[in-house]
Subunit: 288 residues, 2 copies
């Protein structure tokens, strides 16, 4: 297992972590100043500054993309809606390619309309079928372009509104059907926040293996968790045994970045961005 | 599948649903007045009124117990703490027997101390081992007494502080080891609120079969869910396809009560108790 205690060369920052404080160009500069070598930005953050400017800043600073957030959100109430989602995923693949991302992260979607509080239906099995079909269609294009797709199983508390792929086993079942050759074109994100509770986690990480492990995200589960979406903890402030899970991931062959992703309207988004980044670096050494 | 639309003869009320409004003796009387034939009370509610008085009221009204809440909470930081939990579970078995409950529900516990926000450790695997051992020890006594134990897998968002058994598959794996003969002494609770998201739910319900399906709980998943513990929805107010899950449970042979259990500090606990019970009855006909 790699020693993270002495430096942060394998740390990436998911830029949602400081999205409330800074635009993406500033985030990149702040990361570069701290010797952070990789980030994972969100599409809306890129669009707000402009793809060309971000691409230039990445070239200038030498910062890599451990992933690009995000594709997915495949289910829709109508064929038109599903086609629009596929079109949007093609654009996401293109942007990820333009930024030379290691993978495009897929947050697959849940019940259509649920994010607005008014789901079009309650048929989770239907959404899961649409997710499978959407990944299959997007994978065909992503293979052409050469952009790996990384399915991120989300915590079951997001099954209705954000992602109906909720365990690593479920994500890997999809991978096995769509990429039986384990080509590297399709894999998974292991985000400890989403999967730490899973009694089958160790076995499923081993099953995934190096070919399927495309990204590793860290954060922590606070006690109490005061909000379902925006109360993620800084590593070390919660109950997740992150080193143990990282040990499993590395034993399976993963050698990539460890990406800090913290949505925290109740705490970290209220602090100074420099404090947040400096804390991420310190905690990545002590608690990851 | 049974027709619930014309009457509520198979409806039970988990008495937590109106715990904010009434003491248990009043709850029993209110249920009896509405033709509700079964309840599932909590130990603290029984203790507040007195076991003898509750037993007498149940006899007088003819109301049965679809379950008794609850045993469990096995993990502890010390051997003394684990022994105290076992002793307490024996008392819970005795109370369940005195009240002639159909089963004792087990909410197995998570990381010791986590409910208070200060967990003694973050070793979920250790807690799971202690849970297994605790169930095994309690089962030996419960078999003597003749009280079935029903493991309730809780939603993964409660893995740290309430229950580290988080899927039906995990609960059934424990049952298979401790009661391979499927004697009826050990089984599971299927609460739709906790398990509705699980992609393996249908298959695991079939695996459980009649011998392991000891209780069926209903409620709903609200959008948005504003609190991790106390924002459960009334049936029909959320996204869970309850009839579909009930269909699976009944196809597996379950013929017992369907128990309404709603923790709702943000809504139903603020309403008049009569309105809550009447709504439970109406929704049990239309949405279960």
């Amino acid at each position: 297992m790699r020693d993270f205690s002495a430096d942060h060369r394998w740390q990436s920052i998911n830029t949602a972590t400081v999205r409330a404080q800074w635009p993406l160009d500033r985030i990149i500069i702040e990361c570069a100043q701290r010797g952070i070598r990789a980030i994972s930005p969100w599409r809306d953050q890129v669009a707000a500054v402009g793809l060309e400017r971000i691409a230039a800043l990445l070239r200038d600073t030498g910062i890599e993309l451990s992933g690009y957030c995000r594709g997915g959100m495949f289910p829709a109430a109508t064929p038109q809606g599903r086609q629009a989602a596929l079109d949007d995923n093609r654009r996401a693949v293109d942007e990820a390619k333009a930024l030379n991302a290691a993978c495009l992260v897929l947050v697959v979607g849940g019940l259509p309309g649920a994010l607005s509080g008014r789901p079009d239906h309650g048929d989770l099995a239907r959404s899961r079928t649409e997710v499978f079909d959407g990944i299959a269609a997007t994978l065909a294009y992503a293979r052409e372009v050469g952009m790996p797709l990384a399915i991120e199983p989300l915590h079951p508390m997001y099954a209705a509104d954000r992602a109906c792929v909720n365990t690593l086993e479920q994500a890997l079942d999809i991978c096995d059907v769509l990429d039986p050759a384990r080509s590297g074109a399709l894999g998974v994100v292991v985000d400890v926040y989403h999967v730490w509770w899973d009694p089958k986690l160790e076995a499923q990480i081993a099953r995934a293996g190096r070919a399927r492990l495309l990204a590793f995200h860290v954060g922590d589960w606070r006690l109490p968790t005061r909000d379902l979406l925006n109360d993620r903890g800084m590593m070390g402030d919660g109950v997740i045994d992150i080193p143990r899970i990282r040990g499993w991931v590395e034993a399976a062959g993963f050698e990539g970045y460890s990406e800090v992703e913290i949505f925290s309207a109740l705490d970290w988004w209220q602090r100074d961005g420099a404090e947040v980044l400096d804390t991420c670096i310190a905690r990545h050494r002590s608690a990851v």
